[in-house]
């Protein structure tokens, strides 16, 4: 081992980085951006679920429980009529509602209360604070009903999912799309860059090919691969992992395909801004990580701090993920306006990216 020779290698490496400003920026800026985003997301999020309370008790005790629920730190409450509950779950304004039945006071006197807990159910873990708040509220009841313990038997129903619905079911729907999006993006950006570095793109540009033909040809080629991959991922997710699915398999496939086509075009477009494969790979943390954090895959967009919600609203992956969950968790079909909006926005991104890729092609060939 020669210290001199080793030093020569170390030095050569650092000298190279000094001239590659972009890599340096990535190395020192990206961690701050990613960690900062994560911190803001986690600390700034309002994770207290909105719960509706419908007190139908004709006796005196329902009021006490409802009041205790209103003061709970675990949930944020609004008073609703039980008939409106399901609609509020569907439009996302509530994650749960509690109905105290008309004979609630009588139930308490007899020792067993059975309030109804209706959960939206698409996000696992949201039932816990609701049940917890309800249990604490019932403690205040015990002091009113002297001399006997009250057993608590909530009647839990789920709008979506169900008792067996788990974390994998929630993340799975989003990840099916994400896996395809991510891999297709990486393959496209590197291949298109190869075309540039090996000189063949220049040759294509000196042929009668139109720019749009190059972009669309690329898109179709990668889409073939991406669709095969989508089928594989889908079969594995549904048949092997048995991820919860309420929707039409063809719709899931269609949404996956849209995400794949968006990824292909994003790859082509961004390859215009990379001079080497090294620089292309750098787009992964810059493009993919913030989207993963902000598209609602892990943290629901509705719980993000407001400025981040605005950002989430312009990211294509937000709509794609939402669409996948609409189909798989909620069983949405093409009559659902929310799914049509999601698919429409992703499609819009595809069109914009095709245009952008075509427009930047000539400029960067030289």
């Amino acid at each position: 081992m020669s210290a001199r020779r080793i030093r020569a290698i170390t030095r050569r490496l650092l000298e190279g980085f000094r001239r590659d400003r972009r890599t340096l920026a990535l190395l020192f800026v990206a961690p701050i951006v990613i960690l900062g985003l994560l911190g803001y997301l986690l600390r700034g999020s309002s994770t207290v679920p909105s719960v509706g309370i419908a007190n139908e008790d004709t006796g005196p005790l329902g009021v006490i429980v409802a009041d205790a629920l209103r003061h709970s730190s675990h949930i944020k409450t609004t008073d609703i009529a039980s008939a409106d509950g399901d609609a509020s779950l569907k439009d996302g304004s509530l994650v749960a509602y509690i109905v105290l039945p008309s004979n609630f006071s009588q139930q308490a006197q007899s020792g067993t209360v059975a309030p109804e807990v209706h959960l939206e159910g698409s996000q696992p873990g949201e039932d816990a604070p609701v049940i917890q708040a309800l249990q604490q509220a019932l403690i205040s009841l015990a002091s009113q009903v002297a001399g006997r313990g009250i057993s608590f038997q909530p009647q839990v129903t789920y709008l979506y999912g169900g008792a067996t619905y788990d974390t994998l079911d929630y993340f799975g729907a989003a990840f099916i799309g994400l896996v395809v999006f991510f891999l297709v993006f990486v393959i496209t950006i590197v291949s298109f860059l190869n075309e540039r570095t090996q000189g063949t793109l220049e040759r294509l540009m000196a042929s009668p090919l139109r720019r749009g033909e190059i972009v669309v040809g690329y898109m179709l080629g990668f889409t073939v691969l991406a669709l095969v991959q989508s089928i594989e991922v889908l079969v594995f997710a549904l048949a092997v992992l048995r991820i919860h699915n309420q929707g039409n398999v063809l719709l899931i496939f269609g949404m996956e395909a849209l995400m794949a086509i968006a990824a292909v075009n994003l790859g082509i477009f961004l390859s215009m801004f990379a001079r080497s494969e090294f620089q292309a790979v750098q787009f992964i943390p810059l493009v993919v990580v913030p989207q993963v954090l902000l598209s609602g895959i892990i943290f629901p967009v509705s719980s993000e701090p407001a400025p981040l919600q605005w950002l989430s609203d312009v990211l294509p992956l937000t709509y794609a993920v939402n669409g996948m969950r609409d189909i798989m968790v909620k069983g949405a079909d093409l009559t659902a306006p929310s799914l049509l909006l999601d698919a429409g926005v992703v499609l819009g991104f595809v069109v914009v990216l095709i245009a952008a890729g075509t427009a930047t092609l000539r400029r960067r060939v030289a």
Binding site: Q198, R203, A366
Partner: protein
Amino acid sequence: MSDAFAVDVDGVSRSFGTFKALDGVTVRVRRGEIYGLLGPNGAGKSTLIRTICGLLEANAGTVTVLGTRMPNVPVLGHIGYMTQQAALYPQLSVQENIEFFAAINGAEAGVRQALDLVQLWERRGSVVSTLSGGQRQRLSLACALVHHPDLLLLDEPTVGIDPQLRVQFWDYFRNLAAAGTTIVVSSHVMDEADRCQRLGLIQYGRLLAEGTPTEIRQQGGSQNLEEAFLNLAGRRVES
């Protein structure tokens, strides 16, 4: 402008930032001739060739190719362009490469003939990454002429290939020109210059001299073409 010229470059300038790669260059190439662009590395030969086929736009002046003002996409179907590096797809076979370039030019029928010309038909199943440098260069040439272009632009086609193959290349070029193809070929190797019908000497982005090899010798005052070129270049620097 006359249609007798396959290439008509008129007062073309092209800068990259503050660097003037081409500075008022005028070059006219007659149909069916072999025109050599000569000059040292960095003289502006590649820039001129890329401007001729419309990959670069001129900042000033006009480029007319086969009677059409450049840049123009349809006319590119009549131009064959061989880049300096053998621009091929390394994971594809010889045949797959040339079939691709034939297809984008709508000339699938020419594959066999082009591969025969560069003597690669027997190797058509080989993957390009397994070929030697010379074989790749030959394939690159075949890809440039598979569609029988009227104008062939060759950017240093013989760089890095052995003398034997170089002689072979020039045989190809002569046969093509005899069949009516106009060829513009750049080189910094002087012994190739004598094989051209006319030469343009380029340095610092300017055309120093133009003429047949004999005329260049006279202008440069030397029987040795290399010396004549150096004399012309020196005179220009002094003036």
